[in-house]
């Protein structure tokens, strides 16, 4: 008898949950209807703003914007701070920030755009810089053209803004800084008789020599990199303003002398043992946190990971990255990673969204000061003048790292991301792997170019 009751209970639970699912999916198509009626039913819409996470369009009547971004400690926090700043002048303004990992945002955007129903999209979402060109090309209806939105794009670092410019139009408001920093363990350098000054404004030749000294003295490589991901390659390439694509969008691999120099430099570092390759991101982070390597080179956001090794406080220092030898336009500055805010065409109140972004992320020193402690460094040039950026950081030996990075960011050469960025990146990663294992460089570059051209057909 007991079993029968249990079975009946289970069965009814399943039926109920099925009904529940059905009800849920029936709600979504209702969202556009709610949008059209929002003007008359403004009070009704206000009653349950929090419950409206699934129906951003319903927010059109009042001053609520829905935002998708992914990191509670970082970019979500920045949005909350921006909300506070904007609320001072607009007391009715409200943000509905929904935590959505980037992979999910990409999938949702893809689904919405391919099905032709954009009503599921939020008003604003955060987009990885490297994916910007691809998404605007593939889904031209999703992102709004922000060129004349009132945001002053000239105040952002040029190398950063370029990610979200397509055909001369601005589609994104730059957010976090991906300026490349070279981080070193000063205590390990000391054992080799070197200081951070020996690594500042240097070339990769000097880097290699220094690396050999460190390897000899400590037995530790200078840097580790994730095999199969060509982060360092891309950073080196951009440091000389070079790209994997030409202006007209064609692949620029064979005959790209800078790329060739980059590949040769990378291999010489690897062959000398100054650079070691690991298999995963966890290993990569583990290497510098646990002192298996004497430093790393990456976007400045990597400093958040470095600072998790609290026992090494004071033993780290940052400086600019080494420059390429024999490449025209070589500098000590580059960019890796970062993201920008995009406004969707589903936004019911585009003027509000643009004004919000223009007066916060593109116009508020206060905002950037408030979010600095979370590691969100501005790419908005005026923010760098703020006193908060000059404060010393004890972890990095009392250096004013924030001001330094903002300075680096302004010197990053612009390059071309290209819509087929990920394809090109993978093809180059394949080429470098084979080249390290002894293949001929020219042949590998030709294969890479063929692969990219094939993908672009």
């Amino acid at each position: 008898m007991k079993r029968k009751i249990l079975a009946a209970l289970l069965a009814s639970t399943m039926v109920l949950s099925l009904v529940g699912c059905g009800g849920g999916s029936a709600e979504t198509p209702a969202a556009p209807a709610a949008d059209s009626g929002a003007a008359e039913e403004a009070p009704a819409a206000e009653e349950a703003p929090a419950a409206d996470a699934e129906t951003p369009a319903a927010a059109g009547g009042d001053e609520t914007l829905t935002v998708w971004c992914w990191d509670p400690a970082f970019n979500m926090n920045a949005m909350y701070e921006a909300e506070k700043v904007y609320q001072k002048d607009h007391p009715n303004f409200k943000l509905n920030v929904v935590e959505t990992p980037w992979d999910d945002i990409q999938t949702k955007v893809t689904t919405a755009a391919t099905s032709g129903d954009l009503s599921t999209l939020p008003d604003i979402f955060l987009m990885q810089d490297n994916a910007f060109q691809k998404n605007v090309l593939a889904f031209p209806d999703v992102c709004m053209d922000l060129t004349n939105s009132g945001v002053d794009f000239s105040q952002f670092a040029a190398g950063k803004t370029a990610y979200s410019v397509i055909d001369g139009k601005n589609y994104g408001v730059p957010f976090d800084n991906g300026a490349v920093v070279a981080c070193y363990r000063t205590d390990l350098l000391e054992q080799a008789g070197l200081t951070i000054d020996d690594f500042t404004d240097i070339t990769f030749d000097q880097y290699l020599e220094n690396g050999k000294k460190v390897l000899e003295a400590t037995g530790k490589p200078l840097i580790s990199m994730q095999a199969g991901e060509c982060d360092l390659i891309m950073m080196m390439l951009q440091s000389a303003g070079a790209s994997l694509f030409n202006e007209d969008g064609t692949a620029n691999i064979v005959g790209n002398d800078t790329l060739k120099t980059v590949m040769e430099t990378y291999k010489s570092l690897k062959d000398a043992g100054v650079l070691t390759e690991v298999n995963s991101w966890d290993e990569y982070v583990g290497d510098f946190v646990s002192g298996n390597v004497a430093g790393t080179i990456n976007g400045c956001w990597i400093m958040a990971s470095i600072q998790t090794a609290e026992d090494q406080s004071g033993n780290w220092a940052i400086t600019n990255m080494p420059s390429l030898v024999g490449a025209s336009g070589a500098t000590n500055y580059s960019n890796n990673g970062g993201s920008s805010w995009a406004v969707t065409t589903n936004c019911a109140n585009p003027d509000l969204a643009c004004d919000f972004l223009a007066s916060t992320f593109a116009g508020s020193n206060e905002l950037y000061d408030n979010i600095l402690p979370s590691g969100a460094l501005a790419t908005w040039a005026p923010a760098g003048d703020s006193s908060a950026y000059g404060e010393p950081n004890e972890f990095f030996g009392g250096d004013a790292v924030s001001a330094k990075i903002v300075d680096f960011a302004t010197k990053v050469p612009t390059n071309i991301t290209g819509a087929y960025y990920y394809e090109a990146r993978n093809a180059v990663a394949t080429a470098i792997t084979n080249y390290i294992n002894g293949s001929d460089l020219e042949t590998e570059l030709q294969t890479a170019e063929q692969t990219i051209n094939f993908n672009m057909q």
Binding site: K134, A138, F139, N279, G286, N292, T430, T433, N437, Q457
Partner: protein
């Protein structure tokens, strides 16, 4: 009167049968067959993202010119040809050992061997990745035993990366197939083995002369299921090796995923590649049925 009542009863039963079938059938039709049909239609279109145009069979021609996809087909068949037979043989041996009536703690052993199958695909792939990392357990043991001088980068060399994937697959799926064999073995009378023993058959002989022939339908089933599963291999390629080094361990499904969500999306092409997997699975299953099933 009574005649007409009989008719309605059989009709009623028939109708009841259909009523019971209908919900499942309708759901399967809507959830599985409609999307499959839509995907087939999609595979004849091409274009970037939402801008799709009819392109005939160009996607099907294209995939054989795509060096990375051809590489992924080769990789997948490498896994298939090595992993599936090894796994099925292991599973068969384990099943016949655990079928022994005199073995103690049978339940415990069976559970232990089946347990890997209850782990999440992503979780176990990540654990294998860290086991075979440069500073992982395997390298640590090999270096400390003096077998290796310095850690070997298992996942950055083609052969070893593929072998690690195969080892991971064996660990994950052997127990699963063993359970099918164990249940198949329950249908073989134990007295058959006893009779063979009395006639002087060794354990090896009774395995090949009794167990294997009588388990043939189950072996066929597991072979088809494993082939199907291996052709659709995804999680291990993504999480364990990330397709590397230089695409030499990437699987077909992994490449299809990249094409849809990582690269500039070309869903028509991705759908066409998925249909190639469907065709491959169907052809291989058909061949296995022809070779393995001699019942008629």
């Amino acid at each position: 009167m009574s005649k007409s009542k009989k008719m309605t009863l059989s009709k009623k039963q028939n109708l009841m049968g259909w009523v019971f079938l209908a919900p499942g059938a309708v759901l399967i039709f809507i959830m599985s067959f409609v999307p499959m049909f839509r995907a087939l239609v999609l595979s004849f279109k091409s274009g970037v993202g939402a801008n799709m145009k009819w392109s005939g069979v160009s996607n099907y021609v294209r995939m054989f010119q795509d060096t990375v996809f051809v590489q992924s087909i080769k990789n997948t068949f490498f896994y298939l040809i090595i992993q599936v037979p090894v796994m099925l043989i292991f599973a068969l041996i384990l099943a016949s050992i655990l079928n022994n009536k005199d073995l103690r703690f049978k339940g415990l052993f069976r559970t232990m061997i089946f347990l890997p199958c209850a782990t999440s695909l992503v979780a176990y792939a990540i654990i294998f990745r860290s086991l075979f990392a440069n500073n992982g357990l395997v390298n640590l043991v090999l270096v400390n035993l003096g077998i290796l001088d310095q850690p070997y980068a298992f996942l950055t060399h083609t052969t070893s990366a593929r072998i690690v994937i195969i080892i991971a697959l064996l660990w994950r799926w052997t127990g699963y197939n063993m359970v099918f064999y164990l249940s198949g073995l329950q249908n073989i009378e134990y007295s058959v083995y006893e009779a063979a023993k009395i006639d002087g058959a060794s354990a090896v002989q009774s395995f090949f002369k009794i167990t294997v022939p009588l388990l043939k339908p189950t072996i066929l089933l597991t072979a088809i299921m494993s082939t199907n599963g291996t052709l659709q291999l995804f999680d291990e390629s993504v999480n364990l090796t990330n397709g590397g080094p230089a695409n030499t361990s990437i699987t077909m499904s992994h490449y299809i995923y990249d094409m849809s969500f990582k690269y500039v999306p070309n869903f028509g092409y991705a759908a066409a590649m998925s249909f190639l997997i469907l065709v491959l699975v169907a052809v291989l299953a058909f061949l296995q049925m022809k070779v393995g099933d001699k019942r008629d």
